[in-house]
């Protein structure tokens, strides 16, 4: 067992994994689909359709033209009813295709089993599938899988830690499609000549461990390792450290220590794509929160308005005050139920006003709890103060840039200070300052 050290850090929020045993259920087609041209980290896609066009299931709507980007495909057959600039929670606007489904779900003629005999073809297939990290980060998979020249991937880490409260979408994949996960892993290992893979699962999911272990008996390259249940165990850097004892260098990537990390849902999607050629157009979403009538796991066509997904789960029992896309620790609060489900949407949570209340922010009492829990060994309280007075030198000295925004500091703060938010502020200030410096030189 490696990496015990960081586990003394982090936090232990209540699991709330009430949807643990909820079989995934396919949601009925919505009457409107919104497909943003950017559902990933990286550059937006180039729009390929126009108003009035008829599109089919799996048809390319947006083409990824930059290196870090991912194609967007239609999840329905129907008619493009408009192109809008949808406002995202961060305030930016993203070009978005609105489609009215015709209910026929006609497959696009362009769909065929991808060729994947060489590593290059394999990576091309991954790129064509439109896959991005399904664990919530949304990083384009083909970019992640491609080792830069001179670097070799020694290990594939498959992330099934699922340390965020409420979310059971990874767990359900292990229970419902363990074969797909293992096949996906084997394909990646084979095609990219990666010698071994480790699946990391937290110790509160013994059934999943059992299920996966049974399937890997014949493949010595793959092991399942049990992790202590602790948030943020599933954060890339923490996960790698826990499983291998390797520390991703500050400011670096997992590949710097020879590792690629992928979510379980991502690897099993690859398995299905390689055999069917159907790109990423649906995904499993955990629907939960204290006011959802029938919490569960829904298989949702991408682009479905979140309000529709909640309706499928019986709607709300009380007035919603906060809707979160993702987990309660790192998810994004939505301003509208019309926002679409996107590739990285692993959960949709709804809370009433009482549950959404984080309490009034009061003065820091210097209790040091944020320091105790920070998995990156930062001093959130000090960064908070430096960010509030825009002290860039101090932010630099405090290593603010290393924050992984896991939210442990804000979670634990007895004064309800928005520490994680000020970390984001700090990074933004540093970026602004370095851009300024750059322009002077």
């Amino acid at each position: 067992m490696h990496g015990k050290k960081w586990v003394n850090k982090g936090v232990h929020p209540s699991h709330h994994k009430g949807t643990h045993d909820c079989m995934s259920q396919k949601i009925t087609l919505p009457d409107r689909i919104l497909m943003p041209m950017q559902q990933h980290i990286g550059a937006p896609c180039r729009l390929l359709v126009a108003r009035g066009d008829r599109v089919k299931v799996g048809q390319l709507l947006g083409k990824a033209e930059k290196y870090v980007s991912a194609h967007v495909h239609s999840s329905v057959s129907g008619t493009v009813s408009g192109i809008t600039a949808l406002m995202f929670p961060a305030g930016n606007r993203v070009e978005t295709v609105e489609i009215i489904p015709d209910g026929l779900q006609e497959m696009w003629e362009g769909i065929s089993r991808p060729k994947h005999s060489t590593p290059e073809e394999f990576l091309q297939a991954v790129a064509d599938s439109g896959l991005v990290g399904l664990g919530g980060a949304g990083f384009p998979a083909h970019v992640k899988l491609k080792a830069p020249p001179g670097k070799k991937t020694e290990l594939l880490v498959v992330n099934s830690a699922e340390c965020e409260p409420y979310i059971t979408s990874d767990y359900r994949e292990c229970m419902e499609n363990a074969e797909g996960i293992i096949d996906g892993i084997q394909q990646i290992l084979d095609h990219l000549s990666i010698p071994q893979a480790i699946i990391g699962i937290e110790d509160n999911k013994p059934e999943a461990v059992h299920k996966l272990r049974k399937l890997i008996q014949k493949d010595p390259r793959i092991t399942v390792q049990i992790l202590k249940t602790r948030y943020p165990q599933g954060a890339e850097k923490m996960l790698i450290y826990s499983l291998t004892g390797r520390k991703v260098p500050a400011g670096g990537l997992p590949l710097d220590v020879g590792i690629v990390v992928m979510n379980v849902n991502s690897v099993s999607f690859l398995s299905s794509y390689l055999s069917t050629g159907i790109p990423l157009i649906t995904r499993r979403v955990t629907v939960d929160g204290n006011i959802v009538a029938r919490p569960g796991n829904a298989v949702v066509p991408l682009g479905t308005p979140v309000g529709r997904v909640f309706e499928f789960c019986g709607g709300f029992t009380r007035e919603p005050a906060k809707i979160i896309m993702g987990g309660p620790m790192m998810g994004t609060a939505l301003y509208s139920l019309d926002m679409p489900v996107m590739k990285y949407t692993n959960a949709l949570l709804a809370f009433d006003a009482k549950a959404a209340d984080r309490g009034k922010e009061t003065s820091c009492i210097r209790c040091g709890r944020c320091v105790e829990v920070c998995p990156m060994d930062l001093i959130p309280a000090a960064i908070n103060q430096a960010a509030l007075r825009e002290d860039v030198d101090q932010l630099l000295r405090l290593g603010s840039i290393n924050c992984i925004e896991c939210g442990c500091c804000s979670y634990i703060c007895p004064a309800a200070r928005n520490l994680a938010h000020s970390m984001r502020l700090a990074k933004w200030q540093l970026k602004k300052a370095s851009a300024k410096e750059g322009s002077v030189q």
Binding site: A321, A333, R358, R366, L378, L396, N402, I412, A415
Partner: protein, 326 residues
């Protein structure tokens, strides 16, 4: 539908609050307060109540006057008032306690920005100001005799100093130090009660064990090594850490969040520094007791300690120094 709340993640928070932490501290002070009542009588309770009232009223008044958000509900003023009382002699005139409470809250805490901003421990600073201003009443000790009346006595540390570090037969025994049957400040005499309160703070994770352990350990070592009547390593270190204000100081005062380092390495330095200074003052300075001065001196060093114990972010190479920034 009404408007949705938009805020930055995380969207949940633990149920901890500043007020809850303060209430834990108050609970931890109960055993010492009870022991004070047993050995010093009802006057110790009166003085405690007065000191708390003085602190809360001062905080209320100054926040109003400065037009700041009201903060008395966080209970930190109650903690300060209570701790101040426990650091006062049982027979101190009541008005001096009121004055002390005023100094602690207004001068030391609020004029520097309120909770979390003061750089010296409010209760201890007020105690030291009182000690210097009213040296007589602040060093007059009494304890309940056979009857209900209090009889004048000396503190164990004063006796120890007089005896040159030797524990004489007519001096208080370990059992007296444990129970609190000795002269001293209201809340400092019963080692057992303080250990109980300290344990409660540790179990509730209100404080980390680093400062109390290093503080007590260092004083024990130092007084054992240098405090003996017959040369090196003959001192009674245990007698030292069971008497005077050191247990109250180590568990309740040196661990004060605002005035102690935020990093674990810093906490070690704080504890060792307090322990060493306490030992030096007790053995070699004019005063028999040095806990208050030791903690206050270390308080002043805290910003410096924090500065030099800044941890390296995860994944920063051990060698090479500097701060990691991509």
């Amino acid at each position: 539908m009404s408007e949705l709340i938009i805020s930055s993640s995380p969207h949940i928070r633990s149920n901890d609050s500043s007020r809850r932490i303060m209430i834990h501290v108050l609970v931890a002070l109960l055993p010492a307060t009870l022991s004070a009542y047993i050995y010093f009588g009802v006057r110790s309770l009166v003085l405690t109540a007065v000191s708390i009232a003085a602190c809360v009223i001062s905080e209320y008044g100054i926040r109003k006057l400065l037009k700041r958000d009201m903060t008395i509900q966080d209970m930190s003023a109650v903690v300060t008032g209570w701790l101040l009382a426990l650091n006062l002699p049982p027979q101190l005139p009541v008005w001096m306690a009121v004055f002390g409470g005023f100094l602690a809250i207004v001068l030391v805490k609020q004029l520097f920005g309120g909770i979390g901003q003061n750089f010296m421990n409010p209760a201890l600073t007020a105690r030291v100001i009182l000690l210097i201003s009213f040296a007589g009443p602040m060093t007059r000790w009494a304890i309940r005799g056979d009857g209900a009346d209090l009889i004048t006595t000396a503190t164990p540390l004063a006796l120890l100093k007089e005896a040159g570090g030797r524990v004489l037969p007519d001096m208080p025994k370990y059992i007296d130090l444990l129970l609190g049957n000795v002269g001293g400040c209201i809340g400092e005499t019963s080692a057992l009660a303080l250990l109980l309160g300290g344990l409660y703070l540790l179990v509730q994770r209100v404080i980390s064990p680093v400062i109390p352990l290093s503080f007590l350990g260092m004083t024990l070592l130092f007084t054992w090594a240098a405090g003996g009547p017959s040369g090196i390593f003959t001192g009674d270190g245990l007698y030292h850490i069971l008497s005077g204000g050191i247990l109250l100081g180590a568990f309740f005062m040196a661990t004060d969040y605002s005035t102690s380092p935020i990093t674990t390495r810093g906490k070690w330095i704080m504890g060792v520094g307090c322990g060493l200074l306490t030992g030096v003052i007790r053995l070699f300075a004019g005063y028999p007791e040095g806990v208050s001065f030791a903690i206050l001196i270390m308080n002043i060093l805290v910003p410096l300690i924090d500065r030099y114990t800044l941890p390296k972010p995860f994944g920063t190479p051990k060698k090479g120094g500097g701060t990691a920034h991509a």
